[in-house]
Amino acid sequence: MRLLILALCGAVLATTPAFAEESQQAVKNQVVAVTSIVEHPALDEVRDGAREALEKAGYQNSNHFKFIYQSAQNRQSTAVQIARKFVGDKVNVIVAIGTPSAQAAVNATSEIPVVFAAVTDPIAAGLMKDPAHPDKNVTGVSDITPVAAHVKFIKELLPNAKKIGYLYNPSETNSVAALKILKEEAAKNGLEVVESTAIQTSQVRNATLALAGKVDAIYITTDNTVVSALETAIMVANENKIPFIAADPASASRGALAAAGVNYHDVGKLTGEIVIRLLKGEKIADIPMEIAPTNDLYINQKTAKLIGYHFPHSVVERATKIIE
């Protein structure tokens, strides 16, 4: 009996595409399908930035345009299914936020344009061969962290610093790539890097505690794991009076002493602008990869008071946002 039910379901499933195919194509919607590997403040800002850029250009949810979003809930196998669904639904553009989602999208289609966002090294991830000349259906916005500039920034904030603590999840490619550059730049500037790893968000507190007393500053890049538990890490750093410097400006609003780098809302805006060009008919081969500008410098005076730190005048002058 149950096998009969199973067989019937299978038969229905196998034939529905034939029936529904026609009605799907009758509606000439333009659809932008966005997926992210996990929900998390920076990645959410990319999505929102893209949506706002589209709305500003006149692309709002209506009869002729749809903006869909699906999250893979931190499961890579789900990211694969989401990519397959988008391709099957014949969307016009796929926006993939985060390396695993981008890899899944690129593998699922060689026809539908894929715009990646918040991927630090698209070449290492196998997404593009030459960022200046897209050879497949892929382009996007890289959020490569300006680690060299950050090391100089740390020296400016703390001229007497000798050791920088680096918090990260070793299974995140972006963080590992940043660490490599960090070690090189630190050596050039006479600084030593002390690593502390957290495999899951629940380990971030202990990983931060492990640095207490050993380092003059704690530095993080765009590690998804650490940023998801950012308040915890900042709390520990503040309790131990350690300056906390981050790469995502939003971290300063969440309590970090200072943050300089990529504004993820801007990454979203750039991504949205690429999508608009594609929707208007521009060829993807003519849209090279963009690197998000890193002009934002946020400082948090409230945190500074808490840990007894005074910002140098030069930094206060340059700051794009001061949080009191």
Partner: protein, 298 residues
């Protein structure tokens, strides 16, 4: 339309279902046959993916690379068995220790967190043709592989060695009284189970063309879902049925997820896991009610 699955989405669900069917087989052998709760799978699945990608990039034949992945998985299973049988560490804890350690091992094998396999042959390459699209060919190849593995396992579990393993899981004391070395059976079973899971990982990597150290997250849930859903569709006692059930259960899970992605009115992207769980619960309850009369058939 909520009931519509595009061909791409349906084939994707079947494909993932078949890949995780191998994981289901592994979980079936450890959890059901040996009564050994085994979380090593969270580490052996990405281990299989890592080994196969590194081996193919190094120039090995994809089938050989997949075999290497299976052997790596078997070794991981042996470690868990050793911790349990020789180290006297309780089974669940032993498996958690191994999967935790495998995290680092996988990073070493990959030389980083993520390695793409954009170029390079996979086991699917020889079957690529202009007659059938890859999206259709891959599930067919996977199904064929699945049938072969099920047949081999069925033969094994109805042989004397296999029966010894099943006996170990049902009643270890009685088995020992009958002369079965339960320790040896656990070693063999763990090796076999994790080899199958690693094969699943190797298949995932070849289908999706990358390996990532975080690939293992959620593997145990997917494996258990496959086994349990499968046993609801095929509750009969002869061992061939749960083996086939692993694949059916896995496919049902992935199709439910595909439907959950379609969305039901009022659902937000946050609700994906909730809706998937709800759909599966609905299917299991419905099957239970309809097929109730045949529950005791052997």
């Amino acid at each position: 339309m909520w009931w519509y699955l595009s061909q791409n989405a349906l084939l994707g669900a079947v494909e993932s279902g078949l890949i995780y069917g191998f994981v289901g087989l592994g979980v079936y052998i450890s959890f059901r046959v040996l009564d050994f709760p085994d979380l090593t799978v969270e580490g052996s699945f990405p281990l299989g993916a890592a080994v196969v990608v590194v081996a193919i990039l190094a120039g090995y034949d994809p089938w050989l690379a997949t075999l290497f992945a299976a052997i790596a998985g078997a070794l991981a299973g042996l470690v868990t068995a050793a911790l349990n049988q020789i180290g006297k560490i309780p089974n669940l804890l032993a498996s958690i220790l191994t999967s935790t350690a495998l995290y680092s091992v996988n990073l070493h094998i990959l030389g980083g967190a993520n390695v793409p396999l954009m170029t390079g042959d996979t086991i699917f390459t020889p079957f690529s043709s202009s007659q059938i699209s890859d999206a259709v060919m891959r599930p067919l190849v996977l199904a064929f592989l699945g049938i072969i593995i099920i047949a081999l396992l069925w033969r094994y579990f109805e042989s004397n060695s296999g029966l010894a393993m099943r006996a170990t899981g049902v009643n270890p004391r009685m088995s020992r009284a009958q002369g079965v070395s339960t320790a040896a059976q656990i070693f063999i079973g763990m090796a076999l189970s994790n080899a199958l899971v690693a094969i699943g990982g190797a298949l995932f990597a070849q289908v999706n063309r990358y390996a990532d150290s975080s690939l293992g997250i959620g593997t145990i849930v997917l494996g258990l879902a496959a086994v349990i859903i499968g046993s609801t569709f095929m509750p009969w006692k002869r061992i061939i049925f749960p083996l086939i059930g692993c694949f059916i259960g896995s496919i049902v899970y992935w199709v439910a997820l595909a439907y959950a992605l379609n969305g039901i009115p009022g659902m937000t992207p946050f609700d994906l896991n909730l809706v998937t769980a709800g759909l599966i619960a609905f299917v299991l309850i419905a099957i239970g009610k309809f097929g109730g009369a045949l529950n005791d058939r052997t």
